[in-house]
Symmetry: C2
Subunit: 207 residues, 2 copies
């Protein structure tokens, strides 16, 4: 496989409901699945606070960012001018199963467009690819997640973020979360963690 | 590949906010990606109306259903008694990349559990598998979508629903939706469609 491309997400939506949890989901999926930035046209302050909290706790403050924009078309055009491709996810598009290979083989930076609601018609024509993650109505969050999973072939889950305060140790039963030992880590290794949870019968001790 | 297993989704959540769009997303993802039923513990009437509308328009009234339950534990236990396996999706679980093959090779009916919020601790111990779609916080909708995509290997997108009134013809640009010709179809073929949209420059005529 060639190197995974650098990926950004652009979410277009005009009448975002305050406190809409789907907005938070779109941001967190972008962060967790290998995108480096999400551009949004309209965002509640609460969303930014949620992302800040997640970045502080789970790492990645300098690896993923939310950027508020007021002109999505400019972002799209600049992206293309810089040699990147634009993939718009829509139920009306060409099937992902048929197109994913071609997109990956381009090995270019990808701007993924999702709509919080109906997107302007121009998007269909400005995008290099209109891709359907199935031709049935469902969820732009689901579509984004599957697209990124297919692009990165599951490798996005092996990524770890820098500067995390908490880290999950995968576990068959219960929860196993370790906490970075701040006092020690400042004077020694970054890998200094203490176990933070008692609910796991198969608890593994890290240090 | 063996026959795809029969899949159901159980969404556990207690304090659902009225009009929470994430609930609608969970239902529509379950429907669009090969699950036959979604069990939910608390649902607003609006959600049922939305699903009814989608089923009427895009088909599948007898292929996918939403079932309101008041005892999730009973559903889970009955499922296991009938020989099915239970897979709980959680960021604390074992990595999907490591486990998906094992789960698929079982070729059993799968009940997928997702949480609208924190799930009761018991779920971790009653489930046969606790699976992490990445160990970072994101979205139960995204987790469900990726899990189903991995289980069905993309074949869920080839499924078509019966009795649809509208059907999307995949298109590189714009929207191409055909409408089932109700008058003709009652007396002749079920495949009688008329094109319903002008926005696609590469419009294909179906009949």
């Amino acid at each position: 496989m060639t190197m995974p491309p650098s990926v950004a997400v652009l979410r277009i939506g005009h009448r975002l409901v305050r406190d809409d949890r789907t907005t938070t989901h779109a941001v967190l999926v972008s962060r967790a699945m290998g995108s480096e930035v999400i551009y949004m046209t309209d965002v509640d302050d609460e969303i930014k606070k949620t992302l800040d909290k997640v970045n502080k706790r789970w790492g990645g403050e300098n690896e993923f960012r939310l950027e508020i924009i007021d002109n999505w078309k400019k972002i799209l055009k600049t992206w293309k001018e810089n040699g990147g491709i634009v993939v718009h996810l829509t139920m009306y598009g060409a099937p992902i199963n048929q197109k994913i290979r071609e997109i990956k083989e381009l090995s270019q930076r990808i701007l993924v467009i999702i709509g919080a609601e109906k997107v302007p018609k121009e998007v269909y024509f400005l995008a290099d690819y209109n891709i359907a993650i199935g031709s049935q109505p469902h969820s732009e969050i689901a579509a984004l997640a599957i697209f990124l999973d297919r692009i990165f072939e599951g490798n996005q889950f092996n990524k770890s973020f820098l500067d995390e305060k908490m880290k999950i140790i995968p576990s068959d039963k219960g929860k196993n979360v370790i906490q970075r030992n701040q006092v020690q880590s400042s004077s020694s290794s970054n890998n200094n963690y203490k176990n933070n949870n008692n609910s796991n019968p198969k608890k593994k001790n890290q240090n």
